[in-house]
């Protein structure tokens, strides 16, 4: 829907409206704690990031929080401790793989406060393959950069259950998300299960590598990423909904999300 909605809005504005940058006179607010964590079914070191929000006009968008106590439990007595590897970034001290069907609990403590989150790992379908072809509808910058190929995704989505997904796409390791304005989250309410020739956002050149990742998420995760998308694309609440802060699965007063996902990916080097 977003795509069409944005089209409607941008078209509405495009003809008569002008815009300019203004400086808002904003009140100072207390920073909030943001916790971001991801546990997948891959045997690897997993991470948790902790930061504080910054003022709207600050140089940096995050003020890292150091010295926190971080661990994850799998509900079967296994506890994985996390250590700070960079300012505000915590990694599990050992590699482990999350298991589908299990619930994981995150606990973060610092400055006398404790934040927790619980999330279950759901199964995900495989990304069968990626192919490429010459694209139509290129604009001049694509041609200038010699990026004239589109990469297509193939997968089958199981229709016998309600599933929620988050997808991520990369070109040469760089995330493709419309300069940080699009979150690729979806459910299977209106899908027929057969996804083929589905174009990855943006275009590619020969020699580029493409990667598509598909994450299972919970209904709560689906809502969180939907909220992010709404925040990134609101027009001040005129035609889009009135802006509001994102939901969270973190308890204790922080925002952010503790994501536990089964993840499948496919890569393609265009030669």
């Amino acid at each position: 829907m977003k795509k069409y909605f944005v089209l409607f809005i941008s078209f509405s504005f495009a003809f008569f409206a002008c815009e300019e940058t203004i400086v808002l006179d904003l009140d100072q607010t207390e920073p909030v704690i943001i916790i971001e964590g991801l546990i997948t079914n891959h045997n690897q070191k997993h991470f948790v990031k902790i930061s504080r929000s910054t003022d709207y006009y600050a140089q940096q968008a995050a003020a890292p929080v150091s010295g926190a106590d971080v661990f994850v439990e799998d509900g079967e007595g296994n506890q994985f401790s996390f250590v700070e590897t960079a300012n505000g970034r915590y990694e599990s001290s050992e590699e482990f793989a999350g298991a589908i069907g299990k619930s994981y609990t995150l606990q973060v403590s610092f400055e006398g406060k404790t934040y927790t989150a619980q999330e279950k790992m759901y199964s995900v379908t495989t990304v069968d393959s990626l192919t490429y072809r010459y694209a139509e509808d290129l604009d001049s910058t694509d041609v200038e950069e010699n990026r004239m190929l589109e990469v297509l995704v193939y997968l089958n989505e199981p229709q016998d259950e309600d599933n929620y997904y988050l997808a991520k796409f990369y070109r040469n390791g760089e995330p493709l998300n419309d300069d940080g304005t699009t979150v690729y989250y979806f459910n299977d309410d209106v899908l027929n299960g057969r996804i083929q020739d589905f174009p990855v956002p943006d275009y590619f050149a020969f020699g580029d590598s493409a990667r598509a990742e598909l994450y299972s998420i919970s209904a709560e995760g689906f809502r969180f990423f939907a909220d992010l998308e709404k925040i990134l694309n609101n027009d001040g609440g005129l035609f889009s909904g009135i802006p509001a802060n994102a939901s969270t699965n973190i308890k204790g007063g922080a925002i952010g999300y503790f994501q536990v996902s089964a993840m499948e990916f496919t890569e393609l080097v265009i030669e």
Binding site: M1, Y4, F5, F8, F11, F13, F16, A17, C18, E19, E20, I22, V23, L24, L26, D27, Q28, T29, V32, S51, R52, S53, T54, D55, Y56, Y57, A58, Q59, A61, A62, N177, D179, G180, T181, D189, V190, L191, N192, Q196, D197, F198, P199, A219, R223, L228, I231, L232, D235, G236, G237, L238, F239, G241, I242, P243, A244, N245, A246, S247, I255
Partner: protein
């Protein structure tokens, strides 16, 4: 409370019966009041007998009825903008008298038309009712030179606009969905063309338009805040007429065809934008086209002196194409059939059959993502209204309206074999909506007049349908359905019953001053599914249901009305207080599009609004115009939304000032000017930001805790008319104007983004953000030309 009201009614009825018995022999004079040139019925024209100080007004079909004791009288018929007509009648039996009034349009403006009830604003019982001066509107500056009814309504006291260039209006702190907008009695669900630049009303064919902000008669119900009643012209039954015109963005034509002289006429009118033609000429044309049209058709026929039949239809559509890939369109279609019948000179009946439909369609024409999404809502309605003119001081109105409503919130259909989508339909919803009412216009004495009534509304949310039971109906995240119940066709799912008392009183201090009071309870059973400030065409409606209560509002208003200088100036001061419960809102970040569990996104709460409205209108002389000032406040509290904190309503505006004026410069030139000022719209802004997975996100302050900068704008226009007193029928009017004379950059909205250069490339470290102010129209000259013959 309700018991007291019933007793009150009984008392008043008894009183009126007693009065009736005291009068000796009465006869009734009745008939239609019409325009002498076109045969068009005149709405709310005055009928007045000076010696007895008794009068009446024609209803919206131009019918009047006045009962007087036996005798010979001079009776004055008058209407604003028309010459007074005095008839002498010898009343020894019931009389039928149809009266034709001559428009003073050909006369010089200085000629005073009549000497009578120009004091309507002081005299009428109703308050909070605005007549929209349609003829004046045409001389006032207009966006792109197209006079627009809704834009004019937005300049009335107590009315706020959603933003420049929108057709959304808010009345006394009520939401955009709380206005009942009727065109020839058929409801219009989306009044905007081109996202609101124009409304669906073709100003050339509107006969009258009235906005009720309060004191709504018992006859009407269904929305909380206002009633906008628009009546289109019937078309001349005397001679063929045509009118048309071109303005910056659209062309229009209206034809009036007498089918049977003085008995039947046909009106056919159309408008079409030609914006898309310019787009095709653009150098970088990629096939993007936006356009709209609307068509009005009205047929009216008088088979006998006691019967009149009207058939009116409207259809309008916006069509937007984005290259070959994507298109969307939406529109309203309405049809109403009305049969006026006079059982006798005191009993007027109006039977109406109404059909109204709003639909929209989105189509993605690419293969893999190809789909068609359509949604619509329809209503079929039957209405019978009876007016009984008991005697000159008492008129009874009673009636019934039944509406069958169908809501089809959406179907997605893949339109290509390779599409990733499957056909998916959201469950349709159905409702039966009934209202019965009894209302009275009751003049207790020369000074005190009342309008009181009671409306009983009964709403049935009916099958066919499945109602899910949620473990927590407010949990819109982990939606858990624990049970479901299937209902058969027309089986009651949930019913609601409400009594809606209405009361208005006018106390006349003297011929020039009156005090008025009104109380109304309004109930709204259907809800607009929109969580934005300006509803968009893809917002559908839903009926009250197990998860959605009817919205209910009580409003009291008091007012002081005064006319000065022989009714040259009309002044009014009104204060209102409105309290509403179960106002429909949505959870923060609600998913309102294609959500099968949208019931879990509903949130309802309280709204409180109050305000003061000052209004001054000058109706005579070379200089005419109006000025209004409104001070108002509207606050909303919706549990779980905005963390349960009260917030200013989207349409909360502290100050609102509007000035409209026209000045007759010469016989042929007229000047029009307007100025408006309004406090900025409340807006939700970020006070902080944070990073998540590489995305830079806003952290918002509480809802609506900031405001856009103030809005103000001045427009001017010059109208050049054909010669006055010219006997030629062909007339041409040219209008030249400037919109936003001093080029104010009026804020429309503010959005945020990561800091970018002019080409849209991110600059800096990608974490710095900036705010962008969108403003709509800079200085904008326009011209339009209109003709008629």
């Amino acid at each position: 409370m309700q018991k007291c009201l019933c007793l009150g009614f009984l008392f008043l009825f008894l009183m009126s019966n007693m009065e009736a018995q005291n009068v000796q022999k009465n006869f009734t004079i009745s008939g239609y009041i019409k325009d002498s040139a076109t045969g068009e019925e005149l709405i709310y024209a005055n009928v007045y007998q000076k010696d007895l100080d008794l009068g009446s007004t024609s209803n919206i079909y131009g019918f009047y009825s006045l009962t007087l004791p036996e005798g010979t009288y001079q009776i004055d018929f008058s209407y604003l903008g028309y010459q007074l007509s005095s008839k002498t009648v010898n009343l020894t039996r019931d009389l039928e008298l149809n009266v034709e009034l001559a428009s003073d349009a050909q006369q010089l403006q200085e000629v005073v038309v009549s000497d009578k009830k120009e004091d309507q604003s002081v005299d009428e019982v109703g308050m909070s009712r605005m007549d929209i001066p349609l003829e004046e509107i045409k001389k006032l500056p207009a966006l792109f030179g197209e006079p627009d009814l809704v834009k004019s309504i937005q300049t009335m006291p107590g009315v706020a606009s959603a933003g420049e260039g929108t057709s959304t209006f808010y009345v006394r702190g009520g939401g955009a969905d709380q206005n009942l907008i009727l065109m020839d009695e058929a409801p219009i669900y989306d009044v905007s063309h081109l996202f609101g630049l124009f409304s669906v009303f073709n100003s050339d064919i509107i006969k009258s338009a009235e906005l009720y902000k309060g004191g709504v008669p018992a006859k009407y119900g269904g929305r909380l805040s206002s009633l906008l009643e628009v009546t289109t012209k019937d078309g001349s039954a005397k001679q063929f007429r045509a009118s048309g015109g071109m303005s910056t963005l659209l062309g229009k034509l209206a034809l009036e065809v007498p089918v049977v002289n003085d008995k039947a006429s046909l009106l056919l009118a159309g408008r079409r934008s030609y914006f898309d033609l310019f787009m095709a000429l653009s150098e970088d044309d990629e096939g993007d086209r936006i356009s709209f049209y609307d068509v009005n058709l009205k047929f009216n026929y008088k088979p006998t002196n006691k019967d009149r039949i009207f058939l009116s239809a409207y259809s309008g559509r916006d069509i937007w194409n984005f290259g070959d890939d994507f298109s969307m369109d939406w529109g309203n279609t309405t049809t109403s059939f009305r049969w006026n019948h006079l059982f006798n000179d005191k009993l007027f009946s109006n039977l109406t059959l109404i059909y109204s439909d709003f639909d929209y369609k989105l189509e993605d024409k690419t293969d893999v993502e190809g789909f068609i999404w359509d949604a619509n809502q329809k209503e079929f309605s039957l209405k019978e209204d009876i007016s009984y003119f008991v005697h000159p001081r008492l008129t009874l109105h009673m009636g019934y309206q039944g509406i069958y409503r169908i809501f089809e919130p959406g179907t997605i259909t893949p339109n290509d074999p390779s599409s990733i989508f499957k056909k998916t339909t959201l469950q349709s919803q159905y409702a039966l909506d009934h209202g019965v009412y009894l209302g009275t216009d009751h003049q207790l004495s020369d000074r005190l007049a009342l309008q009181y009534g009671l409306r009983l509304s009964y709403f049935q949310n009916i099958g066919k349908g499945t109602i899910f039971e949620y473990s927590d109906p407010r949990d819109n995240v982990n939606v858990e359905i624990i049970d479901s119940t299937n209902y058969g066709r027309f089986e009651n799912i949930k019913t609601f019953l409400n009594l809606e008392p209405r009361f208005s009183a006018r106390y006349k201090i003297n011929a020039e001053q009156s005090i008025k009071f009104s109380y109304q309870r309004m109930v709204q059973y259907i809800h607009l599914l929109s969580n934005s400030t300006v509803p968009i065409p893809f917002n559908t409606w839903a009926p009250s249901s197990p998860y959605l209560n009817p919205q209910l509002a009580d409003q009291v208003s008091i007012g002081y009305f005064r006319n000065f200088s022989n009714n040259t100036y009309e002044f009014s001061l009104e204060a209102y207080y409105k309290k509403a419960k179960d106002i429909t809102e949505f959870a923060d970040n609600a998913e309102i599009f294609f959500n099968k569990n949208i019931a879990t996104e509903y949130r309802q709460g309280d709204m409180e609004s109050y305000g003061l409205e000052l209004f001054l209108r000058k109706t005579k002389g070379r200089l005419k115009g109006q000025a209004s000032y409104t001070w108002s406040k509207a606050e909303v509290n919706i549990p779980t939304v905005n963390r349960d904190r009260t917030f200013p309503a989207n349409h909360d505006r502290r100050h609102n000032f509007n000035l409209l004026m026209t000045y007759q410069l010469s016989n042929r030139w007229e000047f029009g000017g307007s100025f408006n000022y309004s406090t900025g719209r409340p807006i939700t802004l970020p006070t902080g930001k944070y990073e998540f997975d590489g995305y830079i996100l806003d952290y918002f302050a509480p809802r609506n805790s900031y405001r856009l900068p103030d809005f103000h704008r001045m427009d001017i226009s010059f109208t050049h008319n054909s010669k006055k007193n010219d006997t030629r029928r062909f007339k041409v009017t040219k209008v030249f104007g400037i919109y936003n004379v001093y080029n104010r950059k009026n804020p429309f909205t503010i959005y945020t983004r990561v800091k970018q250069d002019d080409e849209g490339n991110i600059i800096g470290n990608g974490q710095e953000k900036e705010a962008r102010l969108i403003y709509m129209f800079g200085i904008l000259p326009y011209a339009s030309i209109n003709f008629s013959f």
